[in-house]
Symmetry: C2
Subunit: 336 residues, 2 copies
């Protein structure tokens, strides 16, 4: 039924070793022989069995990527960076969605490891002790991508989320805002949640503004939670004049909530966020945001992983990529 390397060998009148060589581009084959083999392959429609190959060679040329939420545009862009570099180095990638659920993440990591991937890229989300346990039992390299673990035990590439948030809030402060609200992600999320919240607080402190926890709402990164949070802020007796959102999508929810209430951006409220996804331009007014280099985060982490898989030694295993602020139209000076 299925044609194997053995069938090809017979058809071409050579040994399977020779067929294996031509399939793997081993230079030690006489051109004439190579041609014969290729013809046999063609004639028989031979397709190498990657499973058998993986078992024999103990390499699958496949890296597993766990993505916390496939419907999040940020991760999609990171994935694109991962892919391009993976292709460049002739690795296949298998993407596994984990639905933002910790237990599913662990499950997926183990599945990937059972499938004998040559390396693992773990994207986004919190890295808990359970993750670390799963990682430790892996005997392939692992790189964290757009996240990092608390003690920097695992190689990672990311931006400095705390600083990105700090910069965003500072932008608001530089425009004269003093009463600045925040729509945060869950504080359990070290990167998009906790770190950005810390940056927010530091900026306030720096500017001598006392932190007020009535000005902070926790969202779930979805549009609707941005709407909800903003609704709350608008109803506050003493409204903020600016809002810092941990992510673009919630920021857009906030903008629409403001507009639906008959108020304006940036007239009544300035809005800024961290991410700068494609969405930032897909709203009116367009969103001012601190940009994280999603594609690069993916590309660099994949590149790091290839080095690790080839056992090249790497200078630094924790890399922080630069971020920058992209000014559009959602931030203005404070109302007179």
């Amino acid at each position: 039924m299925t044609v194997t390397i053995y069938d090809v060998a017979r058809e071409a009148g050579v040994s399977m070793a020779t067929v294996s060589r031509v399939v793997n581009n081993n230079p030690n084959v006489k051109p004439a022989t190579r041609k014969k083999v290729y013809e046999a392959i063609e004639r028989l429609g031979y397709r190498p069995n990657a499973v058998a190959r993986g078992l024999a060679s103990k390499k699958t040329t496949t890296v597993g990527v766990v993505i916390p939420d496939i419907s999040n545009a940020i991760f999609a862009e990171v994935a694109r960076g991962i892919e391009d570099i993976a292709n460049m180095y002739h690795y296949n990638i298998i993407l596994c969605n984990a639905d933002k659920k910790k237990d599913k993440e662990i499950r997926v990591i183990n599945t990937l490891l059972e499938k004998q991937v040559d390396g693992l890229l773990f994207m986004g989300g919190a890295v808990t002790e359970d993750h670390l346990v799963a990682f430790r039992t892996a005997n392939v390299p692992i790189v964290l991508c757009a996240t990092s673990d608390e003690n920097d035990q695992i190689p990672s590439v990311d931006i400095n989320h705390e600083e990105a948030a700090y910069d965003a809030v500072m932008k608001l402060i530089s425009q004269g805002h003093r009463r600045i609200a925040m729509i945060s992600g869950t504080l359990q999320d070290p990167a998009n949640g906790f770190a950005r919240f810390q940056g927010y607080k530091r900026a306030l402190e720096q500017a001598g503004i006392t932190y007020d926890d009535t000005l902070v709402r926790i969202g779930n990164y979805r549009y609707e939670s941005g709407v909800e949070a903003m609704k709350y802020f608008i109803e506050l007796p003493e409204r903020p004049t600016a809002v810092f959102s941990a992510t673009d999508e919630m920021a857009i929810g906030a903008i629409h909530c403001i507009q639906d209430s008959g108020l304006t951006v940036p007239g009544d409220f300035s809005v800024i966020s961290v991410d700068n996804s494609r969405m930032a331009s897909m709203v009116r007014p367009q969103l001012t945001a601190v940009a994280q280099p999603m594609y690069d985060i993916g590309a660099v982490s994949m590149r790091l992983l290839t080095k690790l898989m080839k056992k090249e030694n790497v200078e630094q295993s924790k890399v922080l990529l630069p971020h920058e602020i992209v000014v559009r139209q959602s931030v203005g000076g404070v109302q007179a």
Copy 2:
């Protein structure tokens, strides 16, 4: 280094066959033995090698999913449906992005087949002769998901794109619009492109409106191309009063273009599209759209694939799911 089934067998004082049985939940194992084996597994931290297992059993319990564009929200939602059902039937899925490039699609299909997936789900995009060739050489079942081939040779699940488009345009016509523009996808794309364009034409014809090709622009499904197309329509000497967009994202681009020109929706232009992605609510005015049941398309196609993989016989191999129109705020009556 790595612990194998043989190590576990020795540690537990049984044969590898027995270990294999407990790992695979074969009932023919005495509970006491089973317990011993589990303990040995625990003690050694044994993780079954899926590659070896796949080679021996000729099954990988894995299905390959090729997704044309990972950054497209529609496909993300379909993928979610696929996943849920896959998990339910204990299949792993490996997602491969094909970047909307035909040659990459073919490459990815072949890679997946080499990896010995038990089935293949091909999402979106055109199904060309080259695809069919790759599919034919596969000896595992394949189902098309959110697309279909010209002659319905391959099992598929989708909506009736032609009818969906027809319904959308009819909605516009019922509101009194006669001069209706379309932002189409490429006509090479059978589903989102060609079929929706056909539906547009049929609706016009039905209403006795003569088709005018200056009112059709081809976009690439991106926001920016919606903006471009709309810019063109606005500058037309004889402007349309309504716009039908093949997809949500282009529709949103069109809406913003209208607003940026100082015009309004639905005052100056009504806008309608097919998709009804999450984005449809993330714009002001909110987008009226014909909803395709993305999640269901994914779920049903995966369910169909499981049947095919188990060689159960299926009644119909081409299933069309129903669509419906979701009225929001972007469509109004024609100006007096």
